[in-house]
Each structure stands twice: as structure tokens, then as C-alpha cells.
Amino acid sequence: MKLSSAAHDGKALSWQVKDHVIEVALHRVPCNELGSLSLEELEKFADAFGGLQRDAHALIIYSDLKAGFCAGADLRELYKRSQAMDKAEALKGVRDFLERIHRVLNLIDAAPLTTIAAVHGVTFGGGFELALACDLIIADKMARFCFPELRLGLIPGFGGIPRLKRDLGNAVVRDLLLTGRSFNATKAQQIGLVSQVVAEGEVLRAARATAAQLGKFDRETAAAAKRFIKPIPHEELRREIDIFCDLFSRPAVEAGLKKFVESTEAQPYLP
């Protein structure tokens, strides 16, 4: 195995290049919630990404945690920070966070190499949006997907709606968004979201096998094909940030976040 020196081991995520594949491992307990720490480390990865690409033809993003790929935005941090500021300042902070994470996800989305999200367990909200920025989603049969944002009085804010619209039929998008229901890997494959469903514990192996196959093709051709078939919906992504911020300033959102953060129930994600 050829191991590059271009490696990083952070508190929320790590990356390394192995066999010409960049592997990003998420490992922030309890379930890779995306807050300020994760964003800072994602931005570090984004800064390093250009250099890493010189020695790689593929990127795999996966989670080292048993609980799942990623439970989405760190709502506890969001609520706590919002409570410590006045409303205008909190809204400015939210917009800044969204714009920063959009920059990272847009970079992954448009990368001139093939990107794979290898997901298992909880793949909710922002975690689902991170997976959607990738070219392929390979799922463990125990993966579960959900956009629960409407339950909080919000819409997905990390690019979820434009990327879902790009990949799926509008009726399916409406179902997933407007019901906020969670669904399993089999369903995700049926609707065309997931390219492979594999046995429990096999997702990283399957992603690595796929990445090895991708390495057999001419890289420039693969990049040209990707540019042709996967345009970045920049205008809709910007509109999504605006709509999210408009909704975020309403009292219902603060109440929804408070209820979620303070809940001790086994199903806190249900309204």
C-alpha cells in the first residue's frame, strides 16, 4: 500500500491519501454533528484538497463512528450560541456559517476527481447534504436518511434541496422534504439516490473497491464527464441560504430548537 505523507489527524476528522485515493474519516462523537469545530476542519481539508488531488483520482468520505455517517448540524451548539447573542447577531452568525460550509461542499461537489460518500447508520440533515455533494453514495444496509429540518421550522441549509432536485424527481423531493420522514438504504437506492447497498460493515471496503476501479480510467475524461452531467446549481444554492435565514429569524424556530435540545425522549427528532 502506498501511503502519502499528506495526512492530517484532527479532532473532528482525519484525512490521508492511500493508493491514490483521498480518504476523509469523520470521528467527532456522538455522531459527527457539524458545528464550528467540524467546519474549521472541513475548511482545512478544503485548503489542502487542491494539493491532495495531484496524487489522487478519487475521494472517499466515511465515518469512523458506529452511530452513523453524520447526524447533521450541531443543533445544540446552534441553540446555545443563538441564545448568547441578540437576534441580528445570531442571524449574521448563521449566514456566515452557511456560506462557509457551502464553499466547502461546492468545492467537493465540483472536484475534478470522483467523490464517494460511504455511509452507514444515521445520515441526517447536514450529513445527508454532505453525502449529496459527492458523486456516488454507497450505503451500508443499515444506513438511514432524513431531512428533519421542517420539523424545526427550517429547510435544509447546506445545499440539500438544490442537490436533491438535481438528482431526483420533484415528487420524491417533495415527499422527503415535506414529510420529514426517515428512510432506509433500500428505499434510497429505489429512488435513485444510492448507487450500491452493501452488507453491514462492508461500506468502506465497497467504496475502496469502487475507487480502485475508477483509477483505471483516464482522469481528464472522467472529469469532463462529471462537468457535463453534474452542474453545480449555484443560483439555487444561494437562494437556499436566503430562505433559510428568513425562516431562522422566526420565534417558531427558536422554540423548535429549544424543544429538541432539551428533549430526553427516545424520539427527539419527531415533533
Binding site: 456522538p30 455522531c31 452511530a67 452513523g68 447526524a71 447508520g121 444515521v122 444496509k141 443499515m142 444506513a143 438511514r144 414529510t179 420529514g180 420522514r181 426517515s182 428512510f183 432506509n184 433500500t186 428505499k187 425522549e265 427516545a266 424520539q267 427527539p268 427528532y269 419527531l270
Partner: protein, 85 residues
């Protein structure tokens, strides 16, 4: 009674109890149809999602989580699954 001889609803319930016992390491004989499964299995919110996914995979059904809101016992859960078979 063998599993094959059971009425379908009872068989569904039996399969749920066996599946829950196996995956959450609780002896099968300690699980009863009217038990609160959150308490009987000692599961948190993430494990509740795991149970839901295991049930969907086992029975090859879709169980929208909003239909299970307020469902806490194995028997009612079996009824919800039965309605989707």
C-alpha cells in the same frame, strides 16, 4: 406451536421479539408483547432508528416514523408492521 403454525399477526410479533432480543442483547424470555420496548431494550434515540431499520429490512416494508409516533409496545408495533405487509 411452531412459527409456521402461528397466526400471521402472532408470527410477526414473535419475529419482532426475536429480532430485538438478538440485536439488543436482551434474553428473549425477558421480552413480552406489551412491554415498553424503549425500556425493555434500554435503547436511545439512535438505537431506536436502528431498530426501525432492522424491522424494515427484516419484513421488507417501509415504516414512516411518523406512523410510529407514540407507539411504545411490541404488540402495537407488530400491528403497524402487519398493516404494511
Amino acid at each position: 406451536m411452531k412459527a409456521n403454525d402461528m397466526p400471521i399477526a402472532d408470527q410477526t410479533l414473535d419475529e419482532i421479539l426475536s429480532l430485538a432480543s438478538l440485536h439488543f442483547k436482551v434474553p428473549r424470555e425477558k421480552l413480552n408483547p406489551d412491554d415498553d420496548f424503549f425500556k425493555a431494550l434500554g435503547i436511545d434515540s439512535l438505537q431506536t432508528l436502528e431498530l426501525l431499520t432492522r424491522l424494515e429490512n427484516h419484513f421488507h416494508v417501509e415504516l414512516p416514523d411518523y406512523e410510529l409516533q407514540g407507539v411504545t409496545d411490541f404488540r402495537t408495533l407488530a400491528g403497524k408492521i402487519q398493516a404494511r405487509l
